[in-house]
Amino acid sequence: MLLEVDDLCVNYGRIEAIRNVSFTVGEGEVVTLIGANGAGKTTTMKTISGLRPVRAGSIRFKGEDITSMPAHDRPVLGIAQSPEGRGVFVGMTVAENLDMGAYARVDRKTKAVKDDLDRVYSLFPRLSERQTQVAGTMSGGEQQMLAIGRALMARPTLLLLDEPSMGLAPMLIQQIFDIVTEINQQGTTVLLVEQNAAQALKRAHRAYILETGEVVREGTGAELAADPAVKAAYLGGDV
């Protein structure tokens, strides 16, 4: 398994945001975490990236225990995240933001980075047109593309996407999911958090359902998408 999360507990002060969360992500998979608002999805993602301290449990990546590794040492291992709310560097240009994505790469001075940049620009032509625009002046959807592109610039083994379709127009949502599939087919493992459960389940090999900080169900994307209880709770019954 590429990523193994075991009995993870994370608190904000006395509030237990997630409790005994366990799941795995295998090499080459797209795995999705689904859950209502406040279920603990973002907390899980941030903890995998090292932005939140772990109260109990463990995280292993490529077999190595990274539970208490500082956040800034994780990109080099191959973990990149496009965070909820985008978190682009508003005062930097598009090109500078993408450059920041490659900050931790050991091969950042080689042509590999240039190739990845070309790939990001071809995935998101809009970014290519706006290379010198300051990120803070871009639209929400454009910033979302930038956040995803920036994460790709790390050439991660594991790409964490927290609500990549947030704030996007329906046509673009479709496009983002296509890109997720494409990235995955090019060999990147993806852990995806989405409000858009229907799309996420359709694209994911496997899925976990989080409720108030705990994993309550797991299965393949197709299995869960067909499950009446899941349909009722997360898919609005119309898939």
Binding site: R74, G87, G91, A104
Partner: protein, 328 residues
């Protein structure tokens, strides 16, 4: 009014030279604020220690009276000594006064108290520097260095102010030129470093969004340490230029200068590098014009009235807050 008109260029140029010094010190406040949202009140002491380092090194080397290449060498050496000492003090300051608080997630107010405390400790340690040597019985031997610790300590007579050329009636001196040219070189180097180098981008990234920066692999603590050290280097450079202009330093030399530099940083938009530079120059010049208009005893009043007026109209300073927005 007459005074201002007749001495306009003199006031402008001497204002720019003191403004350049404010600006260099202001960079330290603004850099640290950018990444930590903290006013490092002890930065004035970082400056003051640099000034002593320059004086002592030049004293120890018997630099007084040097000419030609020797003079140039001593000036550079003094500057380097000041930069090194200031950078070291800033580094230790961060390690001792701020890092332990950050580890424990203390509220910003606590860090502010720590900053003010560190400022007093550093300043008084310099002002009482004869005492530990007296206990060791070394005070007589080192009297040149530690004697009369609360008095002015002069820079060894090195550079004599000389008229270089006439600029609209004001005789521009070699000291004016040296100060302005070296300050501008330092500013340009810093600006390019922050904009173009990888570490500089790391600093800007942390200032804009610390969590995202960590996701990119930027080491937060290293960036913070780096900003303190860079701020120290700039303050050390400023200290050497200050000595050339003013000629003396003392244990509390950082106090007023620090407040002025902090004012310059706020004036330009705290957290904004180019803002700090602009703020420094504007403050230096405005102070001079103001004292010509209403009397030089009102100089400091003019500086702060200017600050208040500008903040009333532009609450985030001339160029706006944050290392991010103004792209520098």
């Amino acid at each position: 009014m007459n005074l201002l008109i007749h001495h306009f260029w003199e006031l402008t140029i001497t204002g720019l030279t003191i403004g350049a010094i404010y600006a260099l010190v202001a960079l330290g406040y603004t850099l640290v604020y950018g990444v930590l949202r903290l006013i490092n009140f002890a930065h004035s002491e970082v400056f003051m220690y640099g000034s002593f380092a320059a004086v002592w090194v030049l004293m120890a080397l018997n630099a007084a009276g040097a000419t030609g290449l020797g003079l140039v060498g001593f000036l550079l050496l003094g500057g380097i000594a000041a930069m090194a000492a200031s950078a070291l003090v800033a580094f230790i300051l961060e390690l001792v006064a701020y890092r332990p608080l950050r580890k424990r997630n203390s509220p910003p107010l606590i860090a502010l108290i720590s900053a003010i405390g560190a400022s007093f400790v550093l300043s008084e340690a310099m002002g009482l520097r004869d005492k530990p040597f007296a206990w060791l019985g070394l005070d007589a031997k080192l009297a040149d260095y530690v004697g009369r610790p609360r008095e002015n300590t002069p820079l060894p007579a090195l550079l004599h102010s000389q008229k270089l050329f006439n600029f609209f009636g004001y005789n521009v001196t070699n000291v004016d030129v040296i100060i302005l040219v070296s300050a501008i070189i330092m500013m340009v180097v810093l600006d390019q470093f922050v904009r173009r180098s990888r570490l500089g981008r790391g600093i800007r990234a942390v200032a804009m969004d610390a969590e995202s920066a960590a996701l990119m692999g930027v080491n937060h603590n290293r960036v913070i340490r780096l900003t303190f050290v860079i701020g120290g280097i700039m303050a050390g450079g400023a200290a050497m230029l200050y000595l050339l202009k003013i000629g003396v330093t003392r244990y509390n030399a950082g106090f007023i200068l620090g407040i002025k530099a902090f004012t310059a940083a706020v004036l330009g938009g705290i957290g904004n590098l180019r803002g700090a530079l602009l703020g420094g120059f504007v403050l230096g010049v405005a102070e001079n014009y103001g004292s010509a208009l209403v009397g030089s005893q009102w100089k400091d009043v003019v500086a702060f009235v200017l600050l208040i007026v500008i903040l009333l109209f532009r609450p985030t300073g001339l160029l706006g807050e944050s290392l991010g927005k103004a792209r520098a």
